[in-house]
């Protein structure tokens, strides 16, 4: 199937929360049509890779099909969290936007449904064959 590559934020939105040294990031499909693509591509492995530089001790994904949403729980990514971290953003509030930036292969039929307008800095038009 022919696909285009687009950043995840054109298919989904999300929010970061924190408890101690644990971060959770929701990923909510903009449309139900995107859900199978997200389930297939936004995996624990992909997310662990996106946050590899923060050395998560564990990444878990929970699926909520009826909400077309998934929840990632990342342990050990906040340098100790709000009490210990030296980061300006010790809660890790910004982390959802790392996840929302990962590239997704989008079937051509779904391209007209993508959220937002074309973003030239990240939107790739290369064609891949799967």
């Amino acid at each position: 199937m022919s696909t285009l590559t687009a950043p995840l934020y054109r298919l989904a939105h999300g929010r970061t929360g924190d408890k101690g040294n644990r971060s959770n990031i929701s990923v909510v499909a903009w449309r139900r049509e995107f859900w199978p693509v997200l389930v297939e591509q936004v995996t624990e492995q992909r997310v662990a890779k996106a946050f590899a530089y923060r050395h998560p001790s564990r990444v878990a994904r929970y699926l909520l099909p009826q909400l077309h949403a998934m929840n990632f729980v990342l342990d050990g990514v906040l340098d100790g969290g709000v009490n210990d971290a030296l980061n300006l953003d010790s809660h890790g509030k910004a982390l959802a936007f790392i996840l929302l930036d990962i590239p997704i292969s989008v079937p051509l039929t779904l391209i007209p449904l993508l959220a937002g307008t074309e973003d030239r800095t990240t939107y790739s038009t290369e064609t891949e064959t799967k």
Binding site: V28, Y53, N71
Partner: protein, 453 residues
């Protein structure tokens, strides 16, 4: 909605939230008529420990410092229209908060409100030492920390809140309770559900979860231009839940306010700070979102249903806070040609000067300052660029205040000893707290309420 719908509005989502949020919420509750409650959630994890430190300095303090500002605009109308107020703004001194409310009512020429104070969360006293030590050992924490702790508080549930409301309280003041319990308490009092009606308790608990962060369900912490447009964010409206007798709800907001409530704002908040969505633990219930449904039923009206519940946990979570040394941070700016190179050099100078202090975090605001990690792996991997307006930020933790103070001194010294053109040094220091979570048997914590005054 049936006639017996219960309306619960939330006018604060943390200590430091807007003090003008309550007025439109109260106006909407008055206009709707029927039973209405107003919540203020003002107690994040660390807020309570900071309040305890404030109370040590002055025994009359230790509750939400903005309490008079939060209540003054709405107290008269709440008392007049029977809108009852539930809040954890008691923090480390609920009795002090109750006295503050009584003074405020007098100042405003109002009748003396019936204020209930919920007790039982505070496990800081000598009576609970052995209990805490045992719980800390079970959680692989050092039991000796109880000797120097700032405070220990259990997350208690909605029972005492509901009992106080059934006793006729106009205002219920708590210290640490689970945030959703602030909503569940009024629902229990209003609907009279059985203590083991887990599905309804779980539904009202998740209603509380949607409300507890204030504007985070109605367009706050959401807007992203071009993708997530929110009208009039500057005047974002705070949420009101219309709860039915089964615990399902419609989330809405006052007419004429900014923000937006739709399927997407609600889903983001529903999962906020949730871990396993099939087992969201509170003192009152284990809520299960596996079958939850979120549906738009009108403009700025979203229905949450389908939440299920399982019996409440046998243990209560306790947070123990200890003083843990000092945090210092300092900044300096570089601008113009080669600003980034000069800022990077300044960072290297500080790392060298502060080598003995442990981890020294270096950020280049304008290049990378937030996504990076404390160890500096992220920044090291970024290619050197030619940013022309860069602010160097450096931060450290240290157990000893005098050692932590070396950072602000070294940063200031860059004026004359650092790279060319450094300006705008700002420095800050504050005491750090450590959090230690453990669990105690529910039976070991006795909760109750007392009418103040």
């Amino acid at each position: 909605m049936t006639e017996e719908c219960l309306r619960v509005g939330c006018a604060a989502g943390f200590s430091g939230d807007r003090t003008d949020a309550a007025r439109p919420v109260v106006d909407a509750l008055i206009k709707a008529g029927g039973p209405g409650y107003l919540l203020f959630e003002t107690l994040a994890e660390r807020t309570l420990a900071l309040a305890q430190l404030a109370r040590r300095e002055n025994p009359d303090l230790g509750f939400e410092p903005l309490l008079p500002e939060l209540l003054r605009p709405v107290l008269a109308d709440c008392l007049k229209h029977g809108i009852r107020i539930v809040s954890n703004f008691g923090a480390a001194n609920p009795e002090g908060a109750a006295r503050c409310i009584a003074r405020l009512a007098t100042e405003l020429g109002l009748r003396t409100p019936r204020v209930a104070v919920v007790r039982g969360d505070d496990l800081s006293g000598p009576l609970h030492r052995t209990l805490l030590q045992r719980a800390l050992v079970e959680s692989a924490e050092a039991p000796s920390i109880v000797e120097s702790m700032v405070c220990a508080n259990a997350y208690i549930g909605a029972e005492a809140i509901a009992a106080a409301l059934l006793d006729g309280a106009d205002i219920v003041v708590t210290g640490r309770v689970a945030d959703p319990s602030l909503t569940l308490g009024p629902a229990l009092a209003h609907f009279g559900w059985a203590h083991d009606d887990w599905d309804r308790i779980a539904r009202a608990t998740m209603v509380g979860h949607l409300l507890e962060c204030g504007a985070q369900v109605s367009g706050g912490y959401y807007a992203d231009p071009g993708f997530k447009e929110i009208p009039d964010l500057a005047h974002v409206g705070f949420p009101i839940a219309e709860i039915d007798a089964d615990g399902n709800c419609v989330i809405t907001k006052p007419a004429g306010t900014g923000g937006r409530i739709d399927e997407h704002t609600v889903k983001e908040q529903l999962l906020y700070e949730v871990h396993d969505p099939s087992a969201y633990l509170t003192p009152d219930v284990i809520a299960d979102l596996s079958q939850a449904e979120v549906r738009e039923v009108g403009p700025n009206r979203v229905r949450l249903s389908g939440v299920r519940g399982h019996p409440r946990p046998g243990r209560l979570k306790v947070n123990v806070f200890c003083e843990q040394g000092w945090f210092a941070e300092a900044e300096i700016s570089y601008a113009g040609p080669r600003a980034e190179a000069r800022a990077r050099l300044a960072g290297e100078v500080l790392r060298e000067r502060l080598r003995s202090l442990g981890t020294v975090r270096v950020d280049l605001i304008g290049v990378s300052s937030v996504l990076g990690d404390d160890a500096g792996r992220w920044l090291a991997a970024q290619p050197h660029g030619d940013a022309r307006d860069v602010r160097l930020r450096v931060a450290i933790n240290h157990a000893v205040k005098a050692e932590a103070e070396r950072l602000p001194r070294e940063m200031t010294a860059l004026y004359t000893c650092g790279p060319a053109g450094g300006g705008g040094v700002r420095t800050g220091m504050r005491q750090r707290l450590s959090t230690h979570s453990c669990f105690v048997p529910r039976e070991a914590v006795s909760t109750s309420f007392a009418i103040a005054g």
